[in-house]
């Protein structure tokens, strides 16, 4: 078995037994990427191989992630290495500082892969088709998108071009591509992982999280990146448990809610079938599954697109051509410089969202749009509070459909937005949720299921996800044909 095809925990075992070196692992990944990148395009500015950022400063203690490679999404700052959010407006930008998650990984001795993973520009999208570097491809079927916005991270892990990857999730950007690519993606509780150094899309919704080959790797990576950061006012000072410790614990008696609002029209029959089979598996494991209701689900997409675009319109105001990134050539006056820089520097979807968000905040519309959205957000959160008072987890499909084809939705933004319908409420409620593979369509595309739990209940999620993974892996584990 090649090193690149192993999980993080398997590789950690090899490192511990001195049967492989960190360099061996990076070299193996590099060879794999060199062979497959032309088909997958998971990385941006890829030039024939992968390298890790040379370690600097001290490594603190012995960490299970020591010597293991981590790939980073292009919107997470890596000091002195390109961080461009796959946008022309940030072309050539090399931040003078590391995101907190990156410094935590460096301290843990992880090897940070220096080229970044592809994404929709500023995380605006569900397919990576909005990247200024061009789309990534789904390793299971190259005609399909890998999902987005963290499509590059998910595709890299699925194609064995990465062991661990970081993504960011504002409305499903970790979970949806994980589900399209047949890998595991976790969006932690809002405030669990520092956002410092994550280029903000929607500050009240964004979280960084792991995209990995299995549940154990997800827990391993979360162990390192989670925790309070004094540089992020919204990170929460809650103790970080060892998330691998709960793996393997029994799930007998766990109460699982299945919201009826997620199982209605628009759900692909094969997705529905996969989910029903997964619920059967949970019952076999001794869990109790019952139908529940999240009555305000239908409002989640509109609420999300107001809040997320409003925050984004303000967060993206700093890209003005003054201090970094792209500036339009030969601009006349100051105003011309600003609007041409932004007009030429942002892609179509970014402009659409900036204008939408600016509108939602503008005079005369604020109450009708933004304020109303914040109120309905309260209702959505209360829906979850009610369910979690009687249930440990909520299980839903991650996406109503498996991976769609390139170009299938790129002409219709609203259709694209609606593909986030299963993941968006989680961000609005700030709760954690994982996506893990739960089957395949007839055409061999992976299907993902989503497990949600209450704030800071990542352990509950891991426990259930791991139990499921262990129970079905023998039957279901496959690799994409590349």
């Amino acid at each position: 078995m090649e090193l690149y095809s192993m999980t993080g925990s398997q590789l950690a075992g090899l490192l511990a037994g001195r049967k492989a070196s960190p360099q061996d692992i990076v070299s193996s990944l590099s060879r794999r990427a060199a062979a497959k990148e032309e088909q997958v395009r998971a990385y941006v500015r890829f030039e024939g191989g992968l390298e890790s950022i040379p370690p600097e400063g001290g490594v603190e203690g012995k960490s299970p992630l020591s010597g293991l490679p981590v790939s980073i999404k292009d919107n997470i700052c890596t000091r002195s290495f390109n961080t461009e959010c796959c946008s022309r407006i940030l072309s050539g930008y090399k931040p003078p500082y590391d995101a907190t998650v990156v410094s935590r990984l460096k301290k843990a001795g992880a090897s940070i892969i220096s080229v970044k993973t592809n994404m929709d520009e500023f995380a605006f999208g569900s397919s990576t088709e909005n990247s200024c570097f061009g789309p990534s491809r789904n390793p299971w079927d190259r005609r399909c998108v890998p999902g987005g916005s963290s499509g590059g991270s998910a595709a890299a892990v699925a194609a064995d071009e990465a062991v661990f990857a970081l993504g960011s999730d504002t409305g499903g950007s970790i979970r949806q591509p994980a589900s399209f690519c047949g890998v595991v993606g976790l969006k932690p509780t809002y405030g669990r992982v520092s956002r410092y150094g994550l280029v903000a899309f929607a500050s009240s919704l964004d979280q960084i999280g792991p995209i990995t080959k299995d549940v154990r790797d997800s827990a391993m990576l979360l162990n390192v990146i989670a925790g309070y950061d004094p540089k992020d006012s919204t990170s929460v000072n809650e103790p970080v448990p060892d998330y691998t410790a709960c793996l393997g614990r029994p799930v007998k008696g766990m109460r699982i809610g299945v919201p009826k609002e997620y199982m209605v029209e628009g759900i692909d029959p094969q997705v529905r079938e996969s989910l029903l089979r997964a619920l059967e598996e949970f019952r076999r494991l001794g869990a109790v599954c019952e139908e529940v209701s999240l009555p305000h689900t239908e409002f989640a997409v509109p609420v999300y697109y107001i809040i997320a675009t409003a925050e984004a319109s303000s967060n993206l105001a700093r890209f003005d051509g003054v201090r970094y990134g792209f500036r339009a050539a030969d601009a006349g006056g100051l105003h011309d410089m600003f609007s041409r820089t932004r007009g030429e520097g942002f892609g179509k979807e970014a402009k659409r969202r900036i204008i939408l968000g600016t509108f939602a905040l503008s005079h005369g519309y604020y109450d009708a749009y933004y304020l109303r959205a914040l109120k309905v957000r309260t209702l959505i959160k209360e829906d979850f509070d009610k369910v979690f008072s009687g249930f440990d987890c909520i299980v839903t499909p991650t996406s109503p459909t498996p991976a769609f084809e390139l170009g299938e939705k790129s002409g219709d933004p609203l259709k694209m937005y609606l593909s986030d319908i299963c993941t968006i409420s989680v961000n609005l409620a700030g709760i954690p949720a994982i996506s893990l593979p739960c089957g395949f369509t007839g055409k061999g595309l992976p299907v993902g299921m989503q497990i949600m739990a209450g704030h800071f209940k990542e352990e509950t999620i891991f426990k259930l996800a791991y139990a499921y993974e262990q129970a079905v892996s023998a039957r279901e584990r496959r690799r994409p044909e590349l």
Binding site: R323, Y324, G333, S339, K348, I355, R377, L414
Partner: protein
């Protein structure tokens, strides 16, 4: 929410300092109107006395102490500048 026309969208784009070519405006405008129509669904909700949620977790009073830390070296601060002059960022002349 029916009073949204091309003019409003053009004005909003100006407010956001995003220059749109007329073809672009022609494409974006109906899309944005479509999205806003869809968002109009929210009017169905009764939000009268509901508290708005701008922070999902009840985390309050996050401060730092008034203690100085190292600033960036000036070369790092200016390293990304599209244009600079000396130790400053340079922009087209601001007329007041």
């Amino acid at each position: 929410m029916s009073d949204i026309n091309d003019k409003v969208i053009e004005y909003t784009a100006k407010l956001a300092r995003v220059k749109l070519e007329s073809a672009e405006l022609g494409e974006l405008s109906p899309q944005i109107k479509g999205i806003l129509d869809f968002i109009g669904k929210l009017e169905e909700t009764d939000t009268g006395d509901i508290e708005p949620t701008s922070h999902i977790l009840p985390v309050n009073n996050v401060f730092r102490a008034d203690e100085p830390a190292q600033s960036l070296p000036v070369e790092d601060a200016l390293s990304g500048a599209p244009r600079r002059r000396g130790r400053c960022f340079s922009v087209p002349k601001v007329i007041e």
